[in-house]
Amino acid sequence: MHELPLEGIRVADFCHVWAGPHVTQWLAVMGAEVIKIESHLRPDLTRSFFAGGKTLMPGLNQSVDFAVLNYSKKGCTINMTLPRGIELAKEIISLSDVVTENFGGPVMDRWGLGYPDLKKLRGDIILYSGSGFGRTGPYKESPAYAPIIDAFAGLTSLNGYSGGEPCPFGVGGWTDLTAAQHGAFAILAALHHRYRTGEGQHIDLSMSEVDCAFLPDAVMDYTMNDRVQRPQGNRDIAMAPHGCYRCQGEDNWVTIAVSTDEEWKAFCNAVGNPEWANDERFRDGPSRWRNQDELDQLIQGWTRNHTDWQAAGLLQEAGVMAGPSLSPQAVVQDRHLAEREFFFDMEHPEMGTVRLPRLPLNMNHSPFGKYEHAPSIGEHNDYVFRELLKMAEEEIAQLQEEQVIF
């Protein structure tokens, strides 16, 4: 038995770049029919990012970035600058349960596709609007660039090495993707509500608020104590040692975290220095925390003689929290992720076989969901216009001629 939760749910998807497409990617993998609406006038920007394997831009269908954010969706092309294009979009929306968009401003309103308009097309419609700073308020027309949002929302001010400057956080798309998952959750909750009551709604998600939701310690240290936190590097407010230590080999590192005295004793035994456990400087948690500069030196003296996996394996064996710091290429090769089938090979009509990461969605010890290749631009025009909208061949040809279907 493998029934998908969103089978029978249709999504009219106006999302682009990272934050929006990742929302509808979750819905598509869960079985929804996601119809991505683009046009040759405005193809999704990621279609021209990171073209895989070639030096030159090989058209619009060979971007890894697009493939990794848009699998399992269908694609059609509508020229939304023409009134007839907007009419076509409305026809798709009338047959949809959910509409999604993440424009850098009130584009939907300009098209006459704001929430009140959509409600007239379909009373129980769920509209998802993702943005950098919200669909209301002083920045409602600001485009959503994750590093700009992270800077504004306080995340950047907390990211960095102890005593150093704030640094832009992690992968470029971090906040795009964390926001997208919140968006997917909100849509699923709205669907749950609609099943029970028949009522749709408008979801307004702001990426900067997502950053805040993940920073309660810093926010509440301010609201309780008026304290402004700064970057802490890899250190923890309670645990010591707690860091990332240099190992043998090029840019090879291991992380180690010790939370109790028992773990500390186990650590000392595992590294062959049981006498460290009796050292006054490291006797208990507070002492270790106070003297962690010296402690880190000692530990790095040991880790330098081991590879990341040797050190991590030895420490885990002893019940101590430890692990390698994997580079992107090491993640791709990781045997644990391989055994869990986190990466899978997808046949793509233009790119051939591409290895892509799944969503973190597993049920009953197996990957869960529908995985199909990301649509080439306009790949499902025939399905959308002929089968779904039941348009005649001549009318479709006419609209192509007029560059409405474009």
Binding site: M1, E3, G52, V64, V68, Y115, F133, P138, Y139, A151, A153, T156, S157, L158, P168, F169, G170, V171, G173, W174, T178, H182, G183, F185, A189, H192, R196, T197, E199, H202, L205, S206, C212, L215, P216, D217, A218, M220, D221, G233, G243, R246, Q316, G323, S325, L326, S327, P328, Q329, A330, L337, R340, V354, R355, L356, P357, L361, M363, H365, F368
Partner: protein, 406 residues
């Protein structure tokens, strides 16, 4: 308005610290009934983590705990006793969802494997949120935010613009508990997928969330690229194509400003009064600019250093160049946007008093996010849950309390 989006959903949260509790919070804040099960005595680890008002530790005043457990009922239970195990089984029998984040081996040893629970309650959705998931060679590895963040590849690419000294500056974890939050978030999305599936099939599933995968999924663009091309990620600043530094010192702080793209570059040069240096051929196209970014950035920074953050942001806004201050949490909390969008909500709690918490990061028009009750005191709802719902007498409650069961 007809209740909340998840009204009627019954959840038992047998979870500690951040990942499971954030999953429970997402559900509770949209109206699910969440019964949080804590160990007697010390309770959830987040109770001892802080931040605390005036830095005085108190189990009912930890900011992290208060934030993560809004809208939940709280009971104490030692599931390692026979009676405790029996009570947890009874709670699970009546629930739609069990959210747990305990070591897989421990869950099995205590008799709470999904297989057994599904016999008690075939409709049960059991969400297990653990560092490495329920299968694979690292299944039983012990972990915390630091270890998981590094095992996903995210620390290796943080900061996003690289480091000056790759020998002295290790891979960097995100501030606070970013990894644990993401695991809880992915858990909530996957839980909703299973809840909606059971609506159709009438049977539950075992949701298996691996924090390593949840975080690696955020890296999907980089991983897709690395899976296709043989690449080696270098952490040295300037060695990653496209990863340029976009933060600028001003007279009184710092801003993040994106002007590398052709359009923004032209607009920004104009905003700075078309300086002579910008005519240099090194800066004429995007590729060449990127190669000579340090020089360009130095020139721009000369200009920003003579101006306040407010002036730079105002100039950028007027010329439609993406730019925001690198705010501290304090600056964010006091911003016009935070006020206009209600970023923070006052929550009144018996012991901790009234404090501002971050709000939910999505606004649902018909079923708004809201705090109906503050985080529970340790064991606050023992009587309500054990007597009123499970039918134990007060006398039995006293016996269980004396025996350390609750």
């Amino acid at each position: 308005m007809s209740g909340q989006a998840l009204s009627g959903l019954k959840v038992v949260e047998w979870s500690d610290f951040v990942s499971g509790p954030y999953c429970g919070k997402l559900l509770a804040d949209l109206g699910a009934e969440v019964i949080k099960v804590e160990r007697p005595g010390t309770g959830d680890k987040a109770r001892s983590y802080g931040p605390f008002p005036q830095d005085i530790p108190h189990p009912e005043k930890s900011g992290l705990f208060l934030y993560l457990n809004t809208n939940k009922l709280g009971v104490t239970l030692d599931v390692r006793t026979a009676t405790g195990a029996q009570i947890l089984s009874k709670l699970v029998e009546q629930a739609d969802v069990l959210v747990e984040n305990n070591p897989p081996r421990e869950v099995e040893e205590l008799g709470f494997a999904y297989k057994r629970l599904s016999e008690i309650n075939p409709r049960l959705v059991m969400a297990s949120i653990t560092p490495f998931g329920q299968t694979g060679p690292y299944r039983d590895y012990r972990s915390c935010d630091l270890i998981s963040f590094n095992a996903s590849g995210l620390a290796f690419v943080n900061p996003s613009d690289g480091v000056e000294d790759p020998e002295g500056q290790p891979p960097l974890k995100g501030p606070g508990h970013q990894g644990d939050f993401v695991a809880g978030l992915s858990g909530a999305v996957a839980t909703m997928a299973a809840v909606l599936t059971s609506r159709v099939t009438g049977s539950g599933q075992h949701v298996d969330v691996s924090e390593q995968e949840a975080l690696a999924s955020i890296m999907r663009s980089y991983l897709g690229l690395h899976a296709i091309e043989a690449m080696t990620w270098k952490r040295l600043k300037g060695s990653i194509p496209g990863m340029v530094s976009d933060k600028y010192h001003c007279a009184d702080g710092m801003v993040y400003l994106l002007c590398g793209q052709d359009r923004f570059w032209a607009q920004w040069m104009k905003a700075m009064g078309d300086p002579d240096w910008a005519q240099n051929e090194l800066f004429q196209d995007r590729i060449s600019r990127r190669e000579n970014w340090d020089a360009a950035k130095a020139m721009i920074e000369e200009w920003t250093r003579e101006r306040t953050v407010e002036e730079v942001v105002r100039t950028a806004d007027a010329s439609r160049v993406p730019c925001r201050p690198i705010n501290t949490v304090k600056a964010l909390a006091n911003s016009e946007l935070a006020a206009a969008r209600d970023y923070f909500v006052d929550v009144d709690h018996k012991e901790a008093g009234t404090v501002k918490y971050p709000v939910g990061p999505f606004k649902l028009s018909q079923t708004p996010w809201r705090v109906q009750r503050p985080a529970p005191l340790l064991g606050e709802h023992n009587e309500e849950v054990y007597c009123n719902r499970l039918g134990y007498t007060r006398q039995e409650l006293t016996v269980m309390r004396a025996g350390g069961v609750i």
